[in-house]
């Protein structure tokens, strides 16, 4: 539905030029909850503003429903935005704010009022329709901003960190409501966040960005289980990185005897291997695994489980989780020895990071 093709954006020119986006390629499907995730300054807002039309691309195409819209002005794009600052019109009431997009487009006045009522009902703001937008709490403004952007029935709704100004409890609630709303309306959302939890829980697919480049586009599960590189692995969830070597199709890791490569992996020479803490098995594992001994360096209780930091005999450290359920048999203490296993199926070989190697 929306094809982002080799899209790039350069701010300024000459020596002060700054490449904010470097040749981005993404295809966004109809009805998808698509998230742009990345650290602050990676270019998420810039990409969103290009889609909205507030910025002109320096290169590439933006194809919506088969038409290149890269040069269409924002008011003629079937795309509406929920701004991070909400940007509600302070001199208008809630209902006037919501009606704005319809009236600006010249919608038949007889159709405006019913649509405004309908949308205010959906976001549960009907009781505040005549309130001035400046006299509302953050959560209420958020809902009005959402209603205002939804009213003109956009093909795509753009949301730039819409929840970042809310407190934790309200944020969780709005995450849930946004997701429900998106499903019920069957609308395409492009959602920007720097919060990986938010991205994982809400999205159908996530594009991870860093420094103006696309790192990986995948559904949350794939992103977590099969990160394309060290940046993605580190940015989403926690990860152990171990250095190993591959020779003759066998992997040597943490000073143990070489084992067959994980299925589908192919490499030779020095490699970085990633394993999630919760994949590390305490004790010996059934099936193919690398087993090693170490000494417990630190224990941090965190409710459902305890975070264990283990110093392996070869000097590597490993982070793992010990569940705190009542049938857990092992008890832990700092300084005690512990045997762990790394199931081969849970090992991920990552490409050597160019930036790290330098």
């Amino acid at each position: 539905m929306l094809d982002i093709r080799s899209l790039s954006k350069k701010f300024g020119s000459g020596d002060s030029a700054f490449q904010a986006l470097k040749s981005i390629d993404i295809t966004i499907e109809e009805g998808e909850f698509f998230t742009l995730l990345g650290p602050s300054g990676c270019g998420k807002t810039t990409l969103l503003r290009l889609i909205a039309g507030f910025e002109q691309p320096s290169g590439g195409q933006l194809v919506l429903d088969g038409k290149d819209i890269a040069t269409t002005p924002p008011n003629h794009r079937p795309v509406n935005t929920v701004f991070q600052s909400y940007a509600l019109f302070p001199h208008m009431t809630v209902a006037q704010n919501v009606a704005f997009g319809l009236e600006a487009r010249g919608t038949n006045p007889a159709e405006v009022a019913p649509r405004v009522d309908e949308i205010l009902g959906i976001v549960q703001m009907a009781h505040l329709r005549d309130r001035k937008s400046s006299q509302m709490s953050g959560g209420q403004q958020q809902r009005v901003a959402l209603a205002r952007a939804l009213a003109p029935r956009p093909r795509i709704l753009l949301l730039d960190e819409p929840l970042s100004a809310l407190d934790l409890k309200l944020r969780k609630q709005m995450q849930f409501e946004l997701k429900r709303l998106q499903r019920e309306l069957g609308l395409t959302f492009i959602f920007v966040t720097h919060d990986q939890d938010e991205a994982l829980t809400m999205s159908d697919r996530i594009a991870v960005m860093d420094g103006g480049t696309l790192q990986q586009v995948a559904d949350p599960r794939t992103l977590y289980d099969h990160p394309a590189n060290r940046f993605v692995a580190e940015f989403i969830g926690e990860a152990n990185f171990l250095s190993g070597t591959v020779a003759g199709g066998k992997l040597s890791l943490i000073g143990q005897a070489p084992v067959p490569l994980p299925r589908g992996a192919d490499a030779s020479g020095p490699v970085t291997v990633m394993i999630r803490p919760e994949q590390v098995v305490i004790g010996a594992a059934g099936g193919d695994a690398i087993t090693a001994d170490g000494r417990i360096e630190a224990l941090v209780f965190s409710g459902t489980d305890t975070h264990v930091t283990l110093r392996l005999q070869n000097g590597d450290t490993l982070s793992l989780r010990a569940p705190n359920n009542s049938h857990a048999t092992t008890t832990f203490a700092e300084g005690e020895p512990l045997r762990v296993s790394l199931p081969i199926g849970a090992l991920r070989l990552l490409p050597e990071d160019v930036a790290d190697a330098a």
Partner: protein
């Protein structure tokens, strides 16, 4: 809930003390207002009801002659009263010129203010300085400067003659147009300053939001930009209109005796005319016109705010 009587008494004592404190805080302001505003105005009102002295000044004694002369002239031949059409003409000209000045400062001031407010913050102070620099020079000097530009052998005429666009100098001095040009130049900063403040305060993300919501530039201007800048525009218009209505130096120098304004008429009575009661009555009339216009505007604005919700 029944209230404790001593608590209520205490409360009222506290409130009385609070009231006293407020009044004492307001005292300096009240003094200034009384000395600089109410007292002179009272003197003017009093003068307007006195008799004219032979060599200017006023004489004790109640008289309505001053007020009569504002509206009615004594016929030269048969002593009957006829409407003072000359005064009406001058009042009408003053109002029209003040309105035109306001309109012109608006037309030139809005783009100027917009231009300055959209410069990088570091250079804004520099532009503001340029706009306010004429303010630091004497009004007389400024007016003579603009005279220099438009008089018969002035810069503009010489320029036009040199380029061959005209064959003989244009007579621009001592016309309503000359007064208008002079006043627009003099009062422009008074429009630019409040409008600039309003534009600078304006959150341009709102314009972006409007644009995102399918508004054309014009629609955005009408529904979002103008309503939010309206207070600044009104302030600028009032700041220009009121002094323009009572202007004296600029119309005197640019209009001479031919394009006289109300302020010059007042000046005449206190000077050559030696009719202080008439001068005072003319001043009060001007004040009433201004106050009337302000009340009318305030009423209308209040009504507008009500209907807009």
């Amino acid at each position: 809930m029944p209230r404790n009587p001593t608590a209520a008494a205490n409360e009222s004592a506290v409130m009385r003390a609070e009231t006293r404190r407020r009044w004492s805080l307001a005292l300096p302001a009240l003094t200034v207002i009384t000395l600089c505003s109410i007292l002179p105005l009272g003197v003017m009102v009093a003068y307007s009801f006195m008799e004219a002295g032979q060599y200017g000044n006023v004489q004790w004694g109640f008289s309505l002659e001053g007020w009569r002369a504002v509206f009615l002239d004594r016929d030269f031949f048969d002593d009957s009263y006829i409407p003072a059409t000359a005064h009406l003409t001058i009042l009408a000209r003053s109002i029209l010129l003040a309105l035109a000045t306001t309109a012109l400062t608006f037309v030139f001031g809005i783009p100027t203010a917009w231009f300055i407010a959209t410069r990088p913050p570091a250079t804004r102070a520099y532009w503001m300085f340029l706009i306010t620099v004429p303010f630091w020079t004497n009004l007389l000097v400024r007016t003579i400067a603009i005279q220099e530009v438009i008089r018969a052998d002035g810069t503009l005429n010489r320029l036009l003659l040199a380029t061959g666009l005209i064959d003989e100098p244009l007579q621009m001095m001592f016309t309503n147009g000359a007064v208008l040009v002079g006043m627009t130049y003099v009062y422009l900063p008074l429009m630019v300053l409040p409008v600039y403040a309003a534009i600078e305060k304006f959150d341009f993300r709102l314009a972006e939001a409007a644009y995102d919501l399918h508004a054309s530039r014009l629609y955005c201007l009408r529904r979002v930009v103008l309503p939010l800048m309206w207070p600044g525009i009104v302030a600028g218009s009032i700041l220009v209109f009121i002094p323009a209505l009572g202007a004296y130096v600029t119309p005197r120098l640019m209009g001479g005796g031919r394009a006289m304004m109300w302020g010059n008429l007042i000046d005449l009575q206190f000077g050559q005319g030696r009719n202080w009661p008439l001068g005072a009555a003319l001043s009060i009339t001007l004040t009433l016109v201004v106050v009337g216009a302000m009340v009318w505007y305030a009423r209308r604005a209040a009504k507008g705010a009500e209907t807009n919700g």
